[in-house]
């Protein structure tokens, strides 16, 4: 079980800020494919991975990073702080 979180326009497209996801995905990419297969709103949110960033347990990661031992996955657009 993973906590999956969404921020900014990713959150708006998915329609919720977080959810619990039951998955056997080995990598972030596999998780994204599972989510996209679910419903059009996921398809819309994950259409262009180059426009997205991912954090695993609150650390920035790559989309090919393994999910073993991870509890919290977050998807969001590039940050615009400062």
């Amino acid at each position: 079980m993973l906590d999956v979180m969404y921020f900014a326009w990713v959150r708006e497209r998915i329609g919720e800020p977080r959810e619990r996801v039951e998955t056997d995905a080995a990598t972030v990419e596999e998780l994204v494919e599972e989510l996209k297969a679910r419903e059009p709103r996921y398809e819309a949110a994950f259409a262009d991975l180059s426009a997205l960033r991912v954090a695993l347990d609150q650390e920035l990661a790559d989309f090919d990073a393994p999910l073993a031992g991870v509890r919290e996955v977050a998807f969001f657009p590039p940050m615009t702080g400062g």
């Binding site: 921020f7 900014a8 954090a55 609150q58 977050a74 657009p77 940050m79 702080g81 400062g82």
Partner: protein, 146 residues
């Protein structure tokens, strides 16, 4: 001791700068940077979303790096989230160092990392509706100098 604050409340630039400088005889140079919401084309308000938990951790990591790399005497980062209006102060950074060049560089380093590596997202509400602020290539490129 460096301080990091992520808050929705306004902060006083004057009070923070004064408190940061107070009693300091160890550092010859203090630099502050303050980010202000600009009134661009009738902006009504801005909403800043962030990732509680990761935000504080990410900023603390940047501050640790800056403290070590520039041998800073002290550092401060304040960043707001929530609703802001034109003229409101979004964030501030302060650095204290024996040498002016180190204080400037460390403040610029922190700004560059806050822009692109701290999990904040800005949404602008104006006459044409709402839009998420897009990240700029130049902000990402700015990281390469460090």
């Amino acid at each position: 001791m460096p301080v990091v604050r992520v808050q929705s409340e306004p902060f006083s630039l004057g009070d923070e700068a004064e408190a940061f400088a107070k009693g300091r005889t160890d550092a010859g140079g203090l630099v502050t940077f303050t980010g202000v919401v600009r009134d661009t084309g009738g902006l009504a308000r801005m909403e800043i979303e962030h990732y509680p938990g990761m935000t504080e951790k990410a900023i603390a990591g940047m501050v640790d790096t800056a403290m070590a790399r520039w041998d800073l005497a002290d550092a401060l980062v304040i960043h707001r989230h929530g609703t802001l209006a034109p003229g409101d102060r979004i964030m501030m950074v302060a650095t204290a160092s024996r040498h002016r060049v180190a204080a400037f560089e460390a403040a610029e380093f922190l700004m560059d990392y806050l822009k692109s590596r701290a999990p904040f997202w800005k949404k602008e509400f104006g006459p044409d509706g709402a839009a998420w602020v897009a990240a700029k290539d130049e902000d990402e490129d700015a990281l390469s100098r460090w």
